[in-house]
Amino acid sequence: MDPQPQKLQHRVNLTNDQETESTQSHIQEGQTFETVEDLLRHDLANTPLPSSIEERLRKSIADSPTAPQPWWRRILGK
């Protein structure tokens, strides 16, 4: 694999009133990624798949017209 020129870092920018004791250590750590691929994989893992896609897909499939079997399939009974 090609060498990565620099690590990729990301820190959240919180205002004081958003900071809490429980989150302080996390804020200081931020996120560091060794490679672009790692960064994009993290992004993929944290990108939720909208459930509406599956619902719409099931409806679209159910609404799809079903064609009759071809003649050879009817004759052969398969």
Binding site: D2, Q4, P5, Q6, L8, H10, V12, N13, L14, T23, H26, I27, Q31, T35, V36, E37, L39, L40, R41, H42, D43, L44, N46, T47, P48, L49, P50, S52, I53, E54, R56, L57, S60, I61, S64, P65, T66, A67, P68, Q69, P70, R73
Partner: protein, 194 residues
Amino acid sequence: MARPAYPTPEMDTPSHGQSHPDGEPSDLSAFDAIYEEHAKPIYYLALRMLGNASQAEDAAHDVLLKAYRNQHQFRGESGVRTWLYRITINHCQNLLKSWHHRTMINNLEPGFLESSPGDTESPLRVLENTELGERIQTTLQALPDEYRLLLLLVADQQLSYEEMGELTNQSGDAVRGKLHRARKAFSAAFHRTE
């Protein structure tokens, strides 16, 4: 020898009585397995290519429906993921070329560029991932189209360089060389978004 259409254990036991336009039996349970494994990467690829969650949702639906209707055309010369990505890339590239997309994307507010966070995440984690997602989208959009696509494909560990070359009409060696430059360009652009 061609591999079977979908290498899942259920594929030889059609269970829902649907059929394709040409009369081939379709297997919804096999397609469920396809959905489970591939829907999220398809959606993510569309999201980062189009930069718009709503359009990516439409694109993922359209791609998967097209795949369902045309699953008999899959001959197994390439992997299922490669086949699905080819449909996704063509679909998104057509959208990007269309007048509709150019008009719609220019009228959207910045918030529309990101997908909705999951309900179970902590507020800090949601903020962190949302900000990171925005930076990634901004960075990707600053890159040439080819670099953007190659980086999105190489992040998928299921694809080989040869398969990436197949999807982008070039050799695996050409992909390797361009990826080196694409990574550098991404890193430089990412640091500029800080």
